[in-house]
């Protein structure tokens, strides 16, 4: 509707009626305008009218002219509206769709016609626009016309117009849901677009309102009524969760295409947002749980992608992420632990490998769906970042936290079983190492691992290369703090084999593998004092002395103690039926070797020969002669208890299914529970030490702190190792108060001071 305003303004040669009355001139002008309004444009003499307007302006009749013109336009519009538009107004919105369309089409046509007339009038009045309107800063003639149109036509018919448009839009939505295609004809679309265009041309309220009618009046209504429609007019009954979600997708898609073809991009964007939010905070919320189940069970990547990209609403995304975590944790719980089998270690290892398998599955699934990557760190205010790793990590942590000690033990057992196997897979081990960071009680893991590593190394059930690989992987994952002692253990084993090479060559009747261990690195709590006084067979005594000499030559500052408790003797013996390699404890070995020279020995005699204390001797004899599994020795009398006068000899009729036999020293149940208790109190002790150090580190610079703050900070400081409980913390505080590092405030017992 833009007008070419570059018409050259010329001063008329002859000024008609230069001194005539305004009313006379107006009558002439009005006659011309009437011709425009009666569509007799060809009869209009632009030249004359132009001159007339010119002289009116020159004679300072501008104000009067403006007033008359305005009245004239309103009058014309009113009569024209009454004539052509009023009959088409649908009496109510229940009226048929066809009538609504007729109204809209008529309205559009009406506007087109009137606007054209405004333009023609404006052409005549061009001098008036330039000289009077612009100078007075009032709307030019064309705008005067539009404002008159707004006030005379649009405002009175506002509700009819708006409701009619919304009615046809909603109808198209209804149809779209059924037919799943666009139902508006091109003509209809162009009518609507043309009406929206009109709305964008006229201002919303007053002449200088910066909003136009569309954004100021129509759009808010459209948004309100549309969200009402989405909320109420969609029937979800009989839809499964998945179908519901599909339908939502289809609706959004439909709405997007529909609106983008109809209204301006800004406006359609708003509508799509409203639609999505209506779903997300309404129906989708109800079915989210079901959908997550669906998507996780079917491992449908695209569906997951669609679920995560449908909305950027923070709450929705958090619900989604938490739902996924929850599903994964629950699925982990479904892993069965074989509690019946006697092979606990195998069961635990199976449990861990099942877990890691699931973990890997989820990891690749979530990665494939790029899940959570697209999700901005919306939960950052709660200290979470929603990367895939953390979704899966949180799920795993939650799962482990259910029984944190058992989880730590099982993971270590998995490694133990794997490393003892003939060909452990580095890739599989590596995958399980990835789980370590989710353990809350890492110190327990390291303790158990250390125990098991020590057994593997001492009993040569593993290879140094594999162990080194593992320790390096653990170090990468958890930091060197945890692996210092493990590394030191490995180093001991390596230096021991070097030491062996430096031993003098002697008549070797047997293989001798010394293991020189650094006391502090290995998990032995108490060694047997009597080891130093044992009487060894001559050959053993000789290698022992040789080693001592070699060792002292190399490290003369160090003290070497023998820990036979940890030793192992392997003896090949030909029984009547078969020959076997018998691996047994060092003490059992000493007893068995005593029979090399004598066929029959009493308990008392055995004690003299070996110098074993009675308790240990009895334990070993029970293992060799009483326990039904081995029976390497025969006892006379054949009773269950050992007396000093009992006699023993080798059971020549012994036989076993395999060539090599591992004789395990019988352990009384008592010792087992003691060992467990020892281990636990050992862990408690270590934790108290770590906590003490943490408290001192926190309190020293700040001098004083309130109980809760101190606890929180200490907890944070040790969380890489274990979860600090209030109990451990208080034990530590009690200890520090006792040792006078810390003092309670005399006036406020919740406040602690650091004492220098």
């Amino acid at each position: 509707m833009a007008l070419s305003k570059r018409i050259k303004i010329t001063v008329p040669q002859v000024l008609a009626n230069s001194n005539g009355k305004f009313s006379d001139s107006w009558l002439v002008l009005k006659e011309g305008l009437d011709k425009i309004y009666t569509d007799c444009i060809e009869d209009v003499s632009y030249q004359d009218l132009y001159k007339l307007v010119y002289s009116l302006v020159i004679n300072e009749n501008g104000e009067l002219l403006y007033k008359h013109l305005k009245e004239y336009l309103v009058e014309r519009l009113t009569s024209s509206m009454v004539e052509t538009l009023m009959p088409e107004i649908p009496p109510n919105q229940e009226e048929g769709l066809e009538q609504t369309w007729t109204f809209l089409i008529k309205f559009d046509q009406f506007f087109e016609r009137e606007a054209k007339r405004f333009k023609l009038v404006a052409d005549v009045m061009i001098y008036f626009d330039k000289v009077y309107c612009n100078a007075q800063r009032i709307p030019e003639v064309f705008d005067l016309g539009l404002n008159a149109f707004r006030d005379t036509v649009v405002f009175p018919l506002k509700d009819n117009l708006n409701e009619s448009i919304i009615k046809v839009i909603n109808n198209a939505r209804d149809e779209g849901q059924i037919k799943r295609s666009f139902v508006l004809e091109a003509v209809q679309i162009s009518v609507l677009k043309s009406l929206f265009h009109m709305m964008e041309t006229i201002s919303a309220e007053k002449n200088d309102d910066p909003n136009h009618f569309y954004t100021g009046i129509f759009e808010p209504l459209l948004i309100e009524r549309s969200s009402e429609y989405y909320r109420n007019n969609v029937d979800w009954t009989d839809y499964t969760a998945l179908q519901t979600f599909e339908k939502m997708g289809a609706m959004i898609k439909f709405e997007k295409a529909f609106m983008e073809g109809l209204i301006n991009p800004d406006s359609s964007h708003k509508l799509i947002d409203i639609l999505t939010n209506t779903f997300v905070s309404g129906k989708l919320k109800d079915i989210l749980g079901e959908l997550i189940n669906e998507v996780m069970t079917s491992k449908d990547r695209t569906l997951l992608q669609r679920l995560s990209s449908i909305s950027e609403d923070e709450e929705y995304r958090r619900d989604l992420v938490e739902g996924v975590k929850d599903y994964i944790s629950r699925d982990f719980y479904s892993i069965k632990l074989d509690e019946v089998t006697r092979k606990k270690a195998i069961a635990a290892a199976k449990w861990v490998s099942d877990l890691v398998e699931k973990f890997e599955q989820y990891s690749s699934f979530l990665k494939g769906a790029a899940f959570a990557e697209s999700i901005p760190s919306n939960t950052a205010n709660e200290g979470h970042s929603s990367s895939i790793a953390s979704v899966l990590g949180d799920a795993t942590s939650n799962f482990f936290a259910d029984d944190p000690m058992q989880s730590a033990q099982f993971v270590s057992l998995y490694f133990d079983v794997q490393l003892k196997a003939s060909k452990p897979s580095k890739a599989e081990l590596g995958n399980v190492v990835m789980l370590l960071k989710f353990l809350s009680e890492k110190d327990e893991f390291v303790n158990v691992y250390k125990q098991q590593l020590s057994r593997r190394l001492l009993h040569q059930r593993t290879t140094i290369d594999m162990e080194r690989y593992m320790i390096n992987r653990i170090k990468d994952e958890m930091g060197s703090f945890f692996t210092l002692k493990l590394e030191s253990m490995l180093r001991d084993v390596t230096t021991s084999s070097e030491l062996l090479k430096s031993l003098p060559e002697h008549e070797k009747q047997f293989e001798f593998i010394p293991q020189v261990l650094t006391m502090t690195a290995w998990p032995f709590q108490n060694l047997n004092d009597f080891d130093a006084d044992l009487i060894l067979p001559r050959e053993l005594q000789k290698v022992k002395e040789n080693l001592e000499v070699a060792y002292n030559k190399k490290y003369n500052q160090r003290v070497l103690n023998w820990a036979h408790k940890l030793g192992l003797i392997e003896i090949s013996y030909r029984f009547e039926k078969s020959s076997h390699d018998l691996a047994m404890s060092f003490y059992a070995g000493l007893i068995f070797l005593a029979f090399e020279e004598q066929d029959e020995l009493t308990t008392e005699k055995l004690q003299q020969l070996t110098n074993l204390p009675e308790q240990e001797l009895v334990k070993q004899l029970v293992t060799l002669a009483v326990a039904p599994r081995y029976r390497i020795l025969l006892k006379e009398p054949n009773t269950k208890t050992i007396r000093m006068t009992d006699t023993f000899r080798v059971n020549e009729r012994y036989t076993a299914a395999t060539k090599s036999v591992r004789i395990q020293t019988v352990i009384s149940p008592n010792t087992i529970s003691n060992a467990v208790q020892d281990k636990n109190s050992q862990l408690d002790k270590e934790r108290t030490i770590v906590t003490n150090a943490a408290i001192v580190r926190i309190l020293k610079p700040s001098r004083q702190m309130i109980f809760d703050d101190l606890f929180d900070q200490a907890k944070k400081l040790v969380e890489q190792r274990f979860t600090l409980t209030k109990q451990t913390f208080k034990r530590s505080i009690d200890h520090l108060i006792d040792k006078e590092y810390v003092q309670r405030d005399p006036n406020d017992h919740e406040v602690y001071h650091y004492i220098t």
Binding site: F707, Q727, I733, D734, I737, R744, H749, E750, Y752
Partner: protein
């Protein structure tokens, strides 16, 4: 004129500090009577609350008082044995809480620390006592105070731990701690902190079940006071105890013990 006033003042008050005498006199415009009133109001019975503040020189102790000291002292001090006899002669026992009041009065900081002549004489001199009978009266007053005055009761409770603990040690053994807790909280119920028997009985049973090697730090000694001060009955504990707060483990575990043993706790 001023010199005379100072001389009189020093003579009468035994105040050795000439500058202090001058100050009191100047503030009273050199009126000796006013200055004396002021001095006695401010210094005696207030400033001189421990024997160390009592003027050492020129004090003439009553011979009866010196006689009492000589009776129990040995080589110029009263040792623990002497104190036991003395306490007996005051018709007290070492297990009476009034004995702790006496210890506090004399500034006896630890049972195994000897009491010096100056400490003994000056303190009783301040109390205006010279004979065993007069001392008994003062102690009877303190006993009354212990039964009525909560602040004093707390003071004596807090004084007990350092008094009992052996030198070079910072802990008390369980048995004697328990005895004293019984004295303070359990027996006779005449002291200002009255604790419901339903709470107190399990406390002593619980302590009895603790290992004999249990020892008590001063922190625990103080926190037990805080605990009973705040929780007088099972109901109080049930309602208000928070094991997440800064109570020591011993008390936390007592609450666990209550939960395990007291029905409906």
């Amino acid at each position: 004129m001023e010199e005379d006033a100072i001389h009189d003042f020093i003579e009468l008050t035994q105040c050795r500090d000439r500058k202090k005498a001058e100050r009191y006199l100047r503030e009273s415009h050199w009126n000796v009577n006013y200055a004396l009133n002021d001095f006695y109001d401010k210094e005696v019975g207030n400033f001189f609350s421990t024997y160390k503040d009592v003027p050492q020189d020129n004090v003439v102790y009553p011979p009866e008082l010196i006689h009492v000291f000589d009776q129990y002292s040995e080589a110029g001090v009263i040792t623990f044995e002497g104190m036991i006899t003395y306490i007996g002669d005051l018709s007290l026992s070492i297990d009476d809480l009034v004995t702790i009041c006496l210890a506090q009065l004399l500034g006896w900081e630890n049972l195994l620390a000897p009491i010096t002549r100056e400490q003994f004489l000056a303190q009783w001199f301040l109390q205006g006592c010279s004979t065993i009978n007069e001392m008994k009266t003062v102690l009877a007053d303190l006993n009354g105070k212990l039964e009525k005055d909560r602040g004093y009761f707390k003071e004596i409770y807090m004084y007990t731990f350092p008094l009992l603990v052996e030198p070079d040690q910072n802990k008390l053994d369980a048995a004697s701690t328990i005895e004293y807790w019984k004295l303070f909280f359990d027996q006779e119920k005449k002291y200002p902190m009255i604790i419901d028997q339903e709470l107190l009985d399990p406390w002593f049973v619980y302590l009895g079940e603790q290992s004999e090697n249990m020892s008590v730090t001063e922190d625990i000694w103080k926190m037990v006071y805080q605990f009973f001060n705040r929780f007088r009955s099972l109901g109080d504990v049930k309602q208000g105890y928070d094991e997440m707060a800064a109570w020591p483990i011993l008390i936390d575990e007592f609450i666990e013990y209550l939960q395990d043993t007291v029905p409906n706790f």
